[in-house]
């Protein structure tokens, strides 16, 4: 339970940028409409590469704080593995449902607005 809490805390620091990347993939699929399946391969590599870039920068910027997680028994690789796997699953779910159902764009707009408002609230609360 403690491990889950710590991973969630670390992930919350990189969630927004990863979520925006995921949404940009979905918006691209909406833009391509019925031809969306053709760009899934490109979007896959786009997502994978940016996952690595985001994690690299989060590690570099929070290098000192990684000792905190290390002293709690959570290694850098474990953090990378779990957060990347979860984020990729989220991306996969969005892409899958977009391909299968074709979720209307306003739902994603609402989702984006909600997430941005929550982050703004948390930022000012901090």
């Amino acid at each position: 339970m403690r491990t889950l809490k710590l991973i969630t805390r670390f992930y919350s620091g990189i969630f927004l940028v990863n979520f925006l990347i995921t949404l940009s993939c979905v918006y691209s699929m909406i833009h391509f409409g019925t031809d969306a399946l053709e760009i899934v391969g490109v979007l896959f590599w786009f997502k994978v590469c940016l996952l690595a870039v985001v994690f690299y920068f989060s590690i570099t910027n929070n290098k000192q704080e990684l000792y905190y997680y290390q002293n709690l028994g959570i290694s850098k690789l474990f953090l990378a593995g779990t957060t990347s796997a979860f984020d990729f699953m989220l991306w996969l779910a969005f892409v899958y449902f977009q391909l299968r159902i074709g979720i209307p764009v306003y739902i994603f707009n609402l989702l984006l607005l909600s997430v941005l408002l929550i982050f703004l609230y948390l930022y000012y609360k901090k």
Partner: protein
């Protein structure tokens, strides 16, 4: 039962420059081992090699005689206080204590200046309080050994005395390996002191040994 952490045959080079050559160091539970050395002699590098975050050309890190690789993955064996602040600044003091499963009341009793500060964020504390909190969690969290890199930095003289007293009490629960430039404080608390010079560790007993080895001038 006494446990022993040994670092043996450590060699480290950066390019053509040899930093450590055939270093030996022993740390025992129930004791504080001090490590002194001038800037650039490789004290922090040695700690990172023991921790497993820095690769060296040759090393043998043993706990109770058994070679232990990647000791950083075993906080029950070794905890590490780096020379910089490592607690995420956005965390509250209470959250930190919860993460390490340490009761806040014990902390308050030990360091009364933290009374009513449990809801404060770490970056709202003074530099000395921040460091005190870090030393406390590393010293109190159960493990066989703890390595403290420059623990007295940012602390005022009163805080240093409190920390020295605290470490003397806590050494009953684990073995400490401490490095700091404040050699007089380190000598006060240490049972064994090594001086790192010219890439080798020299076991020292008195302040005269430090003078003889050129670390200080009496």
């Amino acid at each position: 039962m006494t446990h022993i952490l040994e670092a043996d045959g450590i060699q480290l080079e950066f390019g053509l420059r040899r930093i450590l050559s055939d270093v030996y160091l022993k740390c025992e539970t129930g004791k504080i081992t001090g490590l002194l050395g001038r800037n650039g002699q490789g004290k922090s590098c040695l700690m990172n090699i023991i921790l497993g975050t820095l690769n060296s050309s040759s090393n043998s890190i043993r706990v109770d005689g058994a070679v232990t690789g990647n000791i950083r993955k075993h906080p029950e064996l070794l905890l590490y206080l780096p020379q910089f602040n490592f607690i995420p600044k956005s965390l509250k003091v209470k959250q930190v204590m919860d993460d390490f499963k340490l009761p806040y009341t014990d902390f308050e009793n030990r360091f009364p200046e933290f009374t009513a500060k449990m809801d404060q964020k770490v970056n709202q504390l003074s530099g000395g309080q921040w460091r005190t909190l870090e030393i406390y969690i590393i010293a109190k969290t159960p493990s066989l050994f703890a390595m403290l890199d420059e623990p007295f930095t940012h602390l005022n003289p009163i805080q240093i005395e409190k920390i020295k007293e605290f470490l003397q009490q806590e050494k009953a629960n684990k073995g400490f390996l401490i490095t700091d430039h404040m050699y007089s404080h380190l000598l006060d608390v240490s049972d064994t002191v090594y001086l790192l010079k010219d890439g080798k560790t020299h076991l020292t007993k008195t302040i005269d040994d430090l003078d003889m080895l050129g670390y200080i001038t009496l």
